[in-house]
């Protein structure tokens, strides 16, 4: 049995992951913005076999509340083995271009709030000399593109931050996993037309647990995105800047 904390637990990918944890008998602590939704998910996870499920309400951008929420989680679980940070928003890129305010809010929701939580969790895991921190980034963080570079910049910042954190904590027996999903069929992408490249939340969830078990550092999900992003990163900037991606 693992003691698992999930932040952004109402996310489709997070919920799919929590179901897999529940089925293997883990103890879970769910953090998110919507109290009623969290309770519904908690009830479901209990039926699925979770050893224990508790919840706390938190807006991830409310940094002042982070430390207390993490302390509550840790004491409810009686320790901490795995933390998954899953929350995120998909900004309206055009609206961001017209609003500095909105751009910074989106950077906060997708990067600063994540970095704040990862800092506290990293310190916690470092102190106990073990544990795993998994954070959901995105393939969008691998290269800036005109269609969503506010989101991409935030996810890219998180990836770089985690790289440094990993470099520091690797010596302390702590795993830091950057998860980079491609297109996933979730409420976040409800408005998009779905094609062959699209994955289901359950596929991503299985990938996350497999990568945690295999002690990986960075995982593209599904795996073919590693190749796609390699090609995208290799395109010279002087050509890339002329593409409409």
């Amino acid at each position: 049995m693992q003691k698992v904390l999930i932040i952004g637990a109402t996310s489709a990918i997070a919920e799919a992951t929590a179901r897999l944890c529940a089925a293997r008998g883990d103890a879970l602590f769910l953090v998110g913005r919507k109290a009623q939704r969290l309770e519904e998910i908690a009830a479901d996870l209990r039926v699925r076999g979770a050893a224990q499920v508790d919840c706390a309400v938190l807006d991830a951008t409310d940094r002042a509340a982070h430390a207390a929420t993490l302390a509550t989680a840790e004491s409810a679980l009686g320790g901490l083995d795995v933390a998954l940070i899953a929350h995120g928003t998909l900004p309206d890129q055009k609206a961001c271009e017209a609003s500095v305010e909105l751009t910074l809010r989106e950077i906060d929701a997708n990067a600063l709030s994540v970095i704040a939580l990862a800092t506290l969790l990293g310190a916690r895991f470092e102190a106990q000399g073990r544990g795993a921190l998994a954070v959901i980034g995105s393939v969008a963080g691998d290269r800036g593109r005109q269609s969503n570079y506010v989101y991409g910049a935030a996810k890219g910042m998180v990836a770089l931050f985690l790289q440094g954190l990993r470099n520091r904590l690797a010596k302390k027996g702590v795993q830091v996993l950057t998860v980079k999903p491609g297109f996933v069929d979730t409420p976040m992408t409800a408005a998009f037309k779905k094609g062959a490249l699209w994955a289901q939340p359950d596929d991503i969830a299985r990938g996350i647990l497999a990568a945690l078990a295999a002690k990986k550092d960075v995982v593209y999900l599904p795996g073919f995105w590693r190749l796609i992003m390699l090609i995208i990163r290799l395109i010279p900037e002087r050509i890339f800047k002329k593409l409409s991606l």
């Binding site: 009830a43 479901d44 076999g49």
Partner: protein
């Protein structure tokens, strides 16, 4: 990707889509009529609403609670209506619980199973799925919510079980699960030739076995087939029968331009199937036993772009002659399929006003869509069913005349008083008058 039903018949008019993602949320505002859509495992048009809107229910896929007294034979599961039976099995079989009734595929939702009041191989003992539904919530287009059970809002319960999604949307349900000792079944297979032999085998087997069903070859000169009886294996018997690891299901990868199911391949398949070496007794995992076709996802695509029909009827117990007559009509037509299934329904009263099962003999067959020829055969079969006092199963139907449906279901008029004025389906428009 637009929603369709299992038969994939071409030409169904498109419907716009909405989704219900929270059980406490109101129905979304609809532009035209609404119809709940479960997992689209109905063959014809009970889950289609051309020109109107389909309300996807799969998002309501959370368990709510499970209660069982220690040592009890039954437990009570409360879950949202979009939960798949497959999800219930994955979660509960390892803990020693099973569905009280299951159809031949596990990829159906709880709401869909209630709305068609589905049956399984244990009908002779357990009745329909609806017999094991304790309560559910019905959400109607006027915003009202009713908890319905056989004793509370009993009229709404009877109308909604087997109600084809036309009385409103089921948001959650409470169903019984039954104890099992493990995932394995003891299976007995017996070849038979002729219907008399089937009925003799069946009478003996129903007294002794929980599950019974027969596969029949309707292309042979005299109907022949394999009678399959099964029972959940007790723990001691299961001990040394190790469970083989579940395989990732194969998927039928594309829709071939023409049907792969033609007279030639059918005859060959049926001959092979009938003569394949068959252990008289075997131990089998529940999945291949109950869901032989679930191993091949999208097997319905092999019928090609023209899709296919299923014809399922029930006739009263005394009407054995009608089954014989139908088999002959099918053999003479040269149409028919390898999915011909014969079973008897027991005496247990179905709880729904429009529930399909009634005491008698049920025959189900798949037919590739060959246009007029196929429809002409169905008209002949309809006449036999009508003369025998039988009826057809809406969940499998895409073409029955309205009169046949209305005559077959005596509670039809009473049912109409429970219709939700904001709900409709292609099926309903077709048969209501």
């Amino acid at each position: 990707m637009s929603l369709h039903s299992w038969g994939r018949l071409p030409g169904a008019p498109a419907a716009a889509e909405l989704a219900l993602a929270e059980r406490t949320a109101p129905l979304p505002a609809a532009d035209g009529s609404l119809l709940p859509y479960g997992n689209g495992r109905s063959y014809g048009d009970v889950c289609l609403n051309g020109g109107g809107m389909l309300l996807r229910m799969r998002g309501l896929d959370r368990f709510i609670a499970f209660d069982a007294d220690p040592g009890a034979d039954f437990g009570v599961l409360r879950c949202e209506a979009g939960v798949l039976l497959a999800d219930i099995l994955d979660t509960f079989v390892p803990r020693g619980w099973f569905l009280p009734v299951t159809p031949g595929t596990r990829f159906v939702t709880v709401g869909g199973a209630i709305a068609n009041d589905v049956h399984g191989k244990n009908h002779h003992g357990a009745g329909t799925f609806g017999c094991h539904v304790l309560r559910f919530e019905l959400l109607r287009s006027d915003g009202s919510r009713r908890v319905c059970s056989p004793t509370e809002n009993a009229g709404w319960f009877a109308a909604t079980v087997g109600g084809l999604g036309l009385t409103g949307a089921i948001t959650w349900a409470e169903i019984r699960l039954r104890r099992i000792d493990g995932p394995l079944l003891a299976v007995e297979n017996t070849r038979f030739a002729g219907l008399d032999e089937f009925f003799a085998l069946n009478a003996a087997a129903e007294a002794r076995h929980e599950y019974t069903v027969a596969w029949i070859d309707c292309l042979a000169a005299t109907p022949r087939g394999i009678f399959m009886a099964g029972d959940h294996l007790a723990a001691d018997a299961a001990q040394d029968a190790a469970r083989s690891a579940p395989k990732k299901p194969l998927s039928f990868p594309f829709t071939p331009p023409v049907s792969l199911v033609n007279g030639l391949s059918l005859r060959a398949f049926n001959r092979l199937y009938f003569h394949k070496p068959l252990p008289a007794r075997a131990t089998q995992d529940y999945a291949p036993y109950f869901y032989p076709l679930d191993g091949i996802l999208h097997w319905n695509r092999m019928y090609g772009r023209r899709g296919f029909y299923q014809y399922q009827c029930v006739v009263p117990p005394a009407a054995r002659g009608a089954i014989d007559e139908m088999m002959r009509a099918i053999a003479a037509s040269g149409q028919g399929s390898f999915l011909a299934v014969l079973k008897t329904f027991g005496e247990r009263t179905s709880p729904g006003l429009l529930s399909f099962p009634m005491p008698g003999i049920t025959l189900a067959l798949d037919f590739p869509n060959r246009g007029a020829g196929t429809l002409a055969l169905f008209a002949r079969l309809d006449a036999i069913v009508t003369a025998a006092g039988g009826r057809l199963y809406a969940a499998k139907d895409a073409r029955m005349p309205g009169a046949l449906f209305r005559r077959g279901y005596p509670a039809f008029a009473e049912f109409t008083t429970y219709l939700d004025p904001g709900f409709a389906s292609d099926f309903w428009r077709r048969i209501k008058e």
